[in-house]
């Protein structure tokens, strides 16, 4: 059941997100970007690398494709798998040489996550960072309330600031009693 709470949010696009979209649009190689949309985050398989904000750039130089990605958290163990998945997709589409480079700066932020990605997270049962009731980016504490991705209630409690992966915190809904993860703002 969806309560009215989620409907009251007026989405506004962070500047960083707008810039990313413009960059992609003006890149001149839309087919390569589209190809990379097939690569999903191995931990959250509904999210593409683009939608989560890991994908920074694609460059074509002759028959070599360079893909630049950035890690979410320093110790994210998914980066190696992501690199292999990118090379796999490129290989399947006849691109013989694909170099994947890790770029640390500027550091990844959840602000780069797309609107589509945020909706997909919510549908998957993970609250996106903007579903924190008192505002995205506020420090988490025991009073923090998050819209429950299952029933939409904001009557929730934080079970633990740390969850099953570095990027998530563990919450429970007091209304429907379901536990859920919050994708932390960083």
């Amino acid at each position: 059941m969806q309560s009215g709470n989620t409907m009251n949010i007026i989405p506004s696009k962070p500047h960083a997100q707008y810039e990313r979209e413009q960059y992609r649009r003006n890149s001149g190689i839309p087919e390569l970007w589209a190809l990379l949309d097939q690569v999903k985050d191995p931990e959250i398989p509904v999210l593409s690398l683009w939608d989560i904000g890991i994908l920074k750039d694609v460059i074509q130089q002759g028959n070599v494709v360079k893909v630049i990605i950035t890690p979410t958290y320093s110790g994210c163990p998914a980066m190696d798998i992501i690199t292999e998945d990118i090379q796999g997709v490129m290989d399947d589409h006849g691109i013989e040489k694909c170099l994947v480079t890790m770029q640390l700066s500027p550091a990844w932020t959840t602000d780069w996550m797309t609107e589509k990605g945020r909706n997909q997270l919510r549908n998957y049962g993970i609250a996106p960072p903007n579903d924190v009731v008192n505002g995205e980016g506020q420090e988490l504490n025991e009073d923090t309330q998050v819209l429950c991705p299952h029933c939409g209630s904001h009557d929730t409690r934080m079970v633990s600031e740390f969850g099953s992966t570095a990027c998530k915190s563990l919450f429970q809904c007091n209304s429907c009693e379901e536990p859920f993860d919050l994708f932390k703002h960083i």
């Binding site: 890690p71 958290y73 320093s74 110790g75 163990p77 640390l104 700066s105 600031e161 969850g163």
Partner: protein, 258 residues
Amino acid sequence: MTQSNSKQDLLTYTVRLGDDAIILGHRLSEWVSYGPFLEEDIALGNVSLDFIGHAQMYYTYAATLSNEVGDKKAEDDFAYLRDEREFQNHIIHELPRGDFAYSVVKQLLIDLYNKHYIEELKSSNDETLSAIAAKAAKEVTYHCRRSKEWTLRLGDGTEESHLKMQRALDDLWGYTHEIFEQDELELRLVAQGIAVDSASLKDKWFDDVKAIIEQATLKLPTSEWAVRGGRAGYHTENLGHLLTEMQFVHRSFPGAKW
């Protein structure tokens, strides 16, 4: 100074920062499945992974630098194929995990140090170190918050938790001096705007620690003993035991893949 000597300095410094991170990260990982309760177990695993991630970034950069000076080491070589005298971590990172109070106090002292250290490293003249610091800084913020919360809760908790926290603080204090001291190599890099001048951070760190310790109803130690030598490769017996665990698989099955 020749350019290659200068690069060798940078390589050594980068490896040192990696050593601090990997040793502490491994130490924290020992808590996994021994945490006081499930959520805390997960939190300790998360924090451990952050440090191992920092170590990986430093060692990856060190591998690049080592290729430039003709040494050709890979990142795993730094973590898994060096012996204890070759590790140059500050000693506090290798101390055993002890009881939960001991780990909490150790983290508090180190997290608050990193808060200032990483902030300074962000403005290093070396682009890669600066980028690693910018990445790590986000994680250091919540490490500090976590350590502070636990210190307040346990310090100002029951009689027993208070006693254990005070004992841990007294036992750890002597290991905090060397983290603000620098050898010739680091001073050369400080002069080039590459390394952090850690001595200049001590007062800020002390004020942070003092405020939290006092709020937690604990007393700052007054004893004057100090243990030094980590950056020169002198260690306590704890490091050898840790490396035995950490390096076992890599050394027993060279080149293993899965």
